[in-house]
Each structure stands twice: as structure tokens, then as C-alpha cells.
């Protein structure tokens, strides 16, 4: 039988040479007169092993990684097509503790299927949610999502069902579903993995949202830094239209949904939902004042469901398996699972989908294996560039929206960036202000001016000039930004700054008390 091989096409694998490895495998097989079937699958999300090559066997897929071009000859010599022994052999991939200890509901197909194969998607429970939704009323779909307890996975954690209910209840000639795929937070890549690795899941989730709200047009707003995601979505949408899953008569039901993908242009603030709407309308990404809510007055002034990629990608499994199934996972008011993203200085960085309630320490130590440098963890930034820096002493905190909020932090989009003890937290605080100055849309003064003043104050502190007075000034500035900004850009930039100041005050002290190195 022709051996089947899998080489991921995920951006992370590509950035580490997956295309070159795939070419080399094909060339080597030709030279040895061996027939192979090579599938470009999605990534398992175990990035320290990428490119992770998998070989189909009767016992399951056996993985080899990280594979470089130079390893291909020795892999063939070792008989890897029959799962032979090799220093890079990782064993049966599904049984690796990193995967076996996860609760993958949204990422159930990650690494298993060819992202652009609709047949693969259907074979692994794809479109089961839509088929059930087509037999339900809009009201029933909204109730199912509400009962599942799904909250917005983009960061704001607003109950998805309530948002949908508002759009459903608003009469309008045209309604929209917009997917916010402007995943600009450093340390996050779960949206990218869905779009590149399981695009039909997102399309299905958006189609269900459209049925729930009575929307007939949809947009996916993808950041320009994700060209592979953009192209994959375009191809998947084309296939879905051809096969009757999108268009004027979805699966013969008489329902209409047209889906478009739009490319952003490198503006972080366009991840803020109203700035994104402006951008989709062809304007500068200036934040709108709320109210009116986008659910009532959204894209082109019409009622609009706006959800993050992971929120929408969670919908198919909720519809397919029911609200009760989904909500049995989690803790407190955080129901279901969250795809967490281990990033930065970490030995086993990657995607870990777990029910809410897992602790940061379990994630960083048990899954992540500690820092890659082998030095102690000093700080962890949770929730992107607007998230707080937590000290190593706070790692027993549970992953839960309310638990993080009680520490003055946010869970955000589930990114966890680990820093070792070489980090200088004054420089990290300066960067937070610098980033805000760079990305502020400029509409409100606390953000536009405050961030620039913040950089200046941090420069003075770092230079050791009247550090104590400057720290007072910095706190004052942060409270103005927190209370006076129009959106989260200016309103949350103080989180990383103040948390750095509160937990790592020694880095803000005048020389020579400041830590060196």
C-alpha cells in the first residue's frame, strides 16, 4: 500500500522550512522509486516540533520532528515510511501527553485534516452543526448558544448569545455577520490556526450566526500580516459556494448567505470592533463612540453580529453536540474551553485547548516545560499587549475571566507570553506606551497624547532622572488613560505599565539600585 505522509502547511511550519522539507521528501522518494502520498495538513500546534512530519500506520500516525531538509535522507534510511526508529521519532502523535491531556473541542481537527478538503471536514463531524441549525428556528439557535455560556473569545468576553439576540430582535432591510480576524495581539495565533488549518469550521460558524440573526451578508476581516490565512479562506469560501454550503440556497434550505474576505492593512486598533467597521467601510480605522451598539447600528449602519474567529469557530460544536455538552466544561461564569497559546520564552510553545480553570502554572510548567532558555520565569504577560504582566508568584491563578480580572489583568484572547529573568520590566512598560502611541487611532486625547507622554516619562525613568517623581507622574498619566480613553487601546495600555510598576518596582528604581543584565 502507498504510504501516506503529512507535512503541515501552517505558517509556523512554513517559517521553519516545511515547504522545502516536503519538496525534499518528494525528490528523495522519486530517487528511491518509492510511491508516496503526501498530504499538506494543518498543524497540531506543537510548534517546538515543527515541521512535524507524520506517517500513517495501523496503530495511528507516527510523528517525526522537528525535521530539517538535512534529515530527510536519514529518515528514509531509517525506514520512517514504516515508522522506523530515528532520533526525531516522537511516537504516536495522538498519544503524546501534550495532546492527550488537552480538551480539544474547537481544535478537534487540528493537524488531522487537509484544511482545504471539504471531504476531510465532513468526515470529521464538519457541518453537523449547520445541519442541525437548519432544522431550528432563529430563536432556538440563539437560545442554544446562550445556554452554552459562550462568551466572546476575542477578549471582551461578552456573552455571544445576548449579542446575537440583539441583532435578531432588530428589524432592518439588511443584517451582517462580521468576523473579527484582526488577531494583532502578540502571543496569540489561534485565529490564524483556525483560518489556515480549519477554514470550513469558521465558515460554518458564520453561516449558523447568519441563520440565527437573519443576516445574508458576511465579512471576514483578516489582518494583512496573515497572507496564508487570507488565501486559504478565499479558496475555502469558493469550495463552499460550489458545494452549496454558501450562496442563495444553502443545502437546499432556501436560506441565503454570501461570505466575503477582506484584507486589513496593518493597523492594530482595527481589532477594536468599531474601528474595524470603519475600515471595512473603506475609511481610516477611527474608533466610534458607543452607543449605538454595532448590534443595532453596525456595518453600513445596519445591525451586525461581530464576533472573533474563535467565538464563531466554537459555534459548530455547540450546535452539533448541544449546549449542555459544551457548558459542562469550564468554571464559574467561564464555560467551555479556551484555546490557550503558549508563547515567548517557553520550551514547548504551542496551542493548548483546555476547559477554563486550568492554572497558568500547569500551562507553563506541565505543558510548556518552563522557559526555553532554562532560566527562571520572571514575568508572564497574559492577554496580549494590553494585558497585565504577572510575576512568577501569581502563576497559580486559574484561567478564568473573573480570576484574571481580580488581579487587575485580563484573559483577553488567551495568549500567554513568558519572559525569563533577563527581562527589564521598565523597558517592557516603555514598549507598551510606544506601541499605544504608534497604534492609537488619534480620536481621543488620553490615548493620542497620553501614550506619547508615557514614552517620554519612561525614558526619563530609564535614564534614572528623578525616578520617584516620574513614577508619580506615570501613575497619574495611567489613571487619566484608564478613565478617559474611548476604547481599550488607551484604556488598557496602563495594564501592562501599572502591573510592571506594581510587581517589578525594582526595575523602575534609580540607578544603581536598578537590576543590571
Amino acid at each position: 500500500m502507498t504510504p501516506t505522509l503529512y507535512v503541515p502547511r501552517d505558517s509556523a511550519a512554513l517559517s521553519l522550512g516545511a515547504d522545502e522539507v516536503a519538496l525534499k521528501i518528494c525528490a528523495e522518494a522519486r530517487q528511491r522509486n518509492i510511491d508516496i502520498r503526501l498530504v499538506r495538513n494543518s498543524s497540531r500546534g506543537m510548534f517546538w516540533l515543527e515541521p512535524l512530519i507524520e506517517v500513517e500506520t495501523d496503530a495511528g500516525r507516527v510523528g517525526y520532528g522537528p525535521v530539517a531538509c538535512d534529515d530527510v535522507t536519514t529518515l528514509f534510511d531509517a525506514g520512517f515510511l514504516q515508522a522506523g526508529a530515528h532520533p526525531l521519532r516522537q511516537g504516536i502523535v495522538d498519544e503524546l501527553p501534550y495532546l492527550a491531556n488537552q480538551e480539544r473541542l474547537t481544535f478537534a481537527r487540528a493537524g488531522i485534516t487537509d484544511p482545504l478538503s471539504l471531504d476531510d471536514y465532513l468526515q470529521y463531524q464538519g457541518y453537523a452543526g449547520l445541519k442541525r441549525a437548519l432544522a431550528m428556528s432563529s430563536d432556538q439557535i440563539v437560545r442554544e448558544v446562550t445556554d452554552a455560556g459562550l462568551r466572546g473569545r476575542g477578549g471582551a468576553a461578552f456573552p455571544t448569545g445576548i449579542k446575537w439576540r440583539t441583532v435578531l430582535a432588530t428589524d432592518a432591510p439588511q443584517k451582517y455577520v462580521v468576523c473579527n480576524a484582526d488577531e494583532g495581539d502578540s502571543g496569540t495565533y489561534s485565529d490564524r490556526m483556525v483560518m489556515e488549518g480549519d477554514p470550513f469550521m469558521l465558515i460554518e460558524g458564520m453561516t449558523i450566526a447568519a441563520l440565527a440573526a437573519g443576516a445574508t451578508e458576511g465579512y471576514i476581516y483578516v489582518r494583512s500580516e496573515y497572507p496564508h490565512a487570507f488565501r486559504t479562506l478565499q479558496k475555502a469560501i469558493h469550495t463552499a459556494i460550489q458545494q452549496g454550503y454558501l450562496g442563495d440556497d444553502i443545502l437546499g434550505s432556501g436560506n441565503t448567505f454570501h461570505l466575503h474576505v477582506r484584507k486589513a492593512a496593518g493597523s492594530y486598533v482595527c481589532g477594536e470592533e468599531t474601528a474595524m467597521l470603519e475600515s471595512l467601510e473603506g475609511k481610516r480605522g477611527m474608533v466610534r463612540a458607543k452607543p449605538p451598539l454595532p448590534a443595532i447600528h453596525g456595518l453600513f449602519g445596519q445591525p451586525t453580529i461581530i464576533n472573533n474567529v474563535i467565538s464563531l469557530a466554537s459555534v459548530p460544536v455547540i450546535l452539533a453536540r448541544g449546549a449542555a455538552f459544551y457548558s459542562q466544561y469550564g468554571m464559574g461564569r467561564s464555560r467551555g474551553t479556551l484555546p490557550l497559546q503558549l508563547a515567548g520564552n517557553i520550551r514547548r510553545g504551542g496551542l493548548v485547548e483546555k476547559a477554563f480553570g486550568v492554572t497558568l502554572r500547569q500551562l507553563i510548567d506541565d505543558f510548556g516545560g518552563g522557559t526555553e532558555s532554562g532560566r527562571p520565569v520572571r514575568a508572564v504577560q497574559v492577554g496580549g499587549p494590553l494585558g497585565a504582566y504577572l510575576p512568577a508568584s501569581r502563576l497559580d491563578t486559574e484561567v478564568d475571566y473573573e480570576a484574571l480580572a481580580s488581579l487587575g489583568g485580563v484573559l483577553g484572547h488567551g495568549g500567554i507570553v513568558v519572559f525569563d529573568d533577563t527581562v527589564d520590566m521598565a523597558h517592557q512598560a516603555r514598549f507598551a506606551m510606544e506601541f499605544c502611541a504608534l497604534e492609537s487611532c488619534g480620536k481621543c486625547t488620553p490615548c493620542r497624547i497620553g501614550a506619547t507622554r508615557g514614552v517620554e516619562v519612561m525614558d526619563t525613568i530609564i535614564a534614572g532622572d528623578r525616578a520617584e517623581q516620574q513614577v508619580t507622574l506615570l501613575r497619574d498619566l495611567c489613571s487619566t488613560m484608564l478613565d478617559g480613553s474611548l476604547c481599550a487601546m488607551g484604556g488598557m495600555t496602563p495594564y501592562p505599565v501599572l502591573s510592571a510598576l506594581d510587581h517589578f518596582s525594582e526595575d523602575f528604581a534609580p540607578e544603581p539600585a536598578r537590576k543590571t543584565g
Binding site: 505558517s11 509556523a12 512554513l14 517559517s15 521553519l16 510548534f47 517546538w48 515543527e50 488577531e183 494583532g184 495581539d185 502578540s186 502571543g187 496569540t188 495565533y189 485565529d191 490564524r192 494583512s224 500580516e225 496573515y226 497572507p227 477582506r262 484584507k263 486589513a264 492593512a265 496593518g266 493597523s267 492594530y268 475600515s279 471595512l280 467601510e281 473603506g282 475609511k283 481610516r284 480605522g285 453600513f300 497559546q341 503558549l342 508563547a343 515567548g344 520564552n345 517557553i346 510553545g349 504551542g350 526555553e372 504577560q381 499587549p385 495568549g415 507570553v417 513568558v418 519572559f419 525569563d420 527581562v423 517592557q428 514598549f431 506601541f435 504608534l438 497604534e439
Partner: protein, 157 residues
């Protein structure tokens, strides 16, 4: 990449307008089309786009300058983007950026003296577990040490 003669600019801009002008909120798709074909948005394009989309030149100029992705001038023969965001910082991006500036003899947003390489910052490529990450002419690379950066430059730029 050098500036284009006006007839070529005119054709590229008109092609982008023809392809996208009827889309709702057409301005960003039109600008992407122009930049994909010319590598930047020439000043001459602003008027042409404004007229086609029934916008003021100020509105088009405002959009071109708001978004970091859009360039108003050509870049060097090669474009190198270095991720400056936190996850890459935790893995040595600050050191890589310093190395790159020294090696190319230019700062961010500048082009090396021989016109070979334009160096730009980028804020997250979604490769946060394998940083530092860079792109060279759009191709992604991660785990980029200063030594690997030099090798990639020699091979690609």
C-alpha cells in the same frame, strides 16, 4: 524597486479600480490592488482613486497614511520585516533588531545605502512560539538568530 513611469502607474491604478470599485467599502481593496501590483501607492494614484470612488483626495490620502501596510514610496529591491512585538522580544527580537540595523547600516523604515534592503518593523506575524520572526519579500522565517539572519540575507537578498 524603482518608481514607475506614469503610464504604468495609470494602468495599474485603473486595473485595481476596475476590479474593486463596485465593492461596498471599496477603498481598501483598491489600494491593496495598487500596492500588490506596484509595490507602493504613488501620489498620482490618489487623485485617480478619489475620482473613481467619488471621494475627496483628502479622504484617500488620509486612508493611505493611516494604515502602516500602505507605502507611499517604493521600497528597496528587497523588503525585510522584523517582528518587534512582546513574544518575539522574549526570544531575542531586540537583539536581532540591533543586529539587523548594524548589518544593513540603516534604521527601521529606511533602506540600506546600496538600495538593496528596506527594513521595516512588524507587530506580530502569529509565530509567537518560534520567534524571533521575520519576513523577507513576504516569505516567513522564524527562530531567526543573528547568524541565521545573515545566512537568510545572503541567500535571499
Amino acid at each position: 524597486m524603482t518608481a514607475h513611469p506614469s503610464s504604468e502607474v495609470n494602468t495599474a491604478v485603473q486595473t485595481a479600480i476596475d476590479a474593486c470599485a463596485t465593492l461596498p467599502g471599496a477603498l481598501l481593496p483598491v489600494l491593496h490592488g495598487i500596492q500588490d501590483s506596484l509595490g507602493y501607492i504613488p501620489a498620482a494614484a490618489v487623485k485617480q482613486v478619489a475620482e473613481a470612488l467619488n471621494l475627496s483626495r483628502a479622504e484617500v490620502h488620509g486612508v493611505v497614511t493611516f494604515y502602516h501596510h500602505f507605502r507611499d514610496r517604493p521600497c528597496g529591491r528587497h523588503l525585510v520585516e522584523i517582528c518587534r512585538a512582546e513574544a518575539c522580544q522574549a526570544r531575542g527580537a531586540r537583539q536581532l533588531e540591533t543586529h539587523a540595523r548594524k548589518r544593513l547600516g540603516c534604521n527601521l523604515h529606511e533602506t540600506s545605502a546600496d538600495g538593496g534592503v528596506t527594513l521595516e518593523p512588524v507587530y506580530c506575524l502569529g509565530l509567537c512560539a518560534t520567534g524571533p520572526a521575520v519576513t523577507i519579500d513576504g516569505k516567513l522565517h522564524s527562530r531567526v538568530t543573528p547568524e541565521r539572519f545573515d545566512r537568510l540575507l545572503e541567500r535571499n537578498a
